[in-house]
Symmetry: C2
Subunit: 165 residues, 2 copies
């Protein structure tokens, strides 16, 4: 099974692709960040995000898409802006035809670090260790997306989590 | 000029279409509500919303799309959910190729009632008076969308508001 993870944002949207390599092994296939112009009107940023994600979905052909859920935001305004990007990411995934599921940040952290209360940097380090790739520096959108993808691979068929939203 | 207004929501999304009828007159063309299944997963609701809005945009061929902005939500969680629907609405509008603009609720109220602090019901009454259509009963998603459309018609070329987001 191949999973594409998405860490959606209205300025940077991370994506990462992994696949099942037999047993408990996970193979890294790709990762990247879509950077959206801060000066462009919101609707143009959303169009660029939709185009970018649709392109990556077509290129990597995942069976399953795991999207990081967000319960916490600084305030209602930033939650609304983040929601706009997240809605477009979910739309691109469902239009592509993959199974889609949202995972709470604590569930993703648990999947890659063994605890739901890890630091963002610890998640980044564990992603590079688990996948055998170079450590991440600077922005962590891509490593967060890879963490979501790893979580998706482990939890795709979990019946309890399938019911949770 | 023809304007399609949208009052986006994750459960009900109102739309309304008006056009310039010369002078200060506004002609009503259509309105309706897209009802999204509450039991469906969010990504399926967003797909249905995108399909429904794309269908209405193609049917009514507006030059301009006015989307009600939302600054206030009960909490960050509901703002996130509302943002998802709003992002998909903005995407459908920009993909269709119309000019798109967001208007704050107070600006829309001002346009149809003369005050930015009107009651929701007053907006509904003024919309039916201005357009010469039957009063609205029950849910006001469609009349809110028509109010956004009327506001868009009046403000489409306002240079100050074009810069505001």
């Amino acid at each position: 099974m191949r999973v594409l993870g998405i860490d959606p944002g209205s300025r940077y949207c991370g994506f990462g692709v992994v696949e099942d390599a037999g047993g408990t092994r996970v193979r890294h296939l790709a990762h990247g960040v879509l950077a959206l112009s801060e000066s462009a009107p919101m609707e143009e940023r959303l169009r660029a995000l939709h185009q970018g994600l649709t392109r990556e979905l077509s290129a990597h052909r995942p069976d399953f898409v795991a999207v990081e859920d967000v319960f916490h935001a600084r305030n209602a305004r930033s939650a609304l802006v983040l929601g706009q990007a997240r809605g477009v990411a979910l739309l691109a995934a469902v239009q592509y035809g993959a199974r889609v599921r949202s995972f709470e940040p604590s569930v993703i952290m648990q999947a890659v670090t063994g605890t739901g209360r890890a630091e963002k940097e610890q998640v980044g380090r564990m992603v590079s260790v688990l996948l055998g790739i170079s450590p991440f520096h600077g922005r962590l959108d891509a490593s967060d997306a890879l963490a979501a993808a790893i979580c998706g691979l482990l939890r795709a068929n979990d019946p309890v989590l399938r019911l949770a939203r």
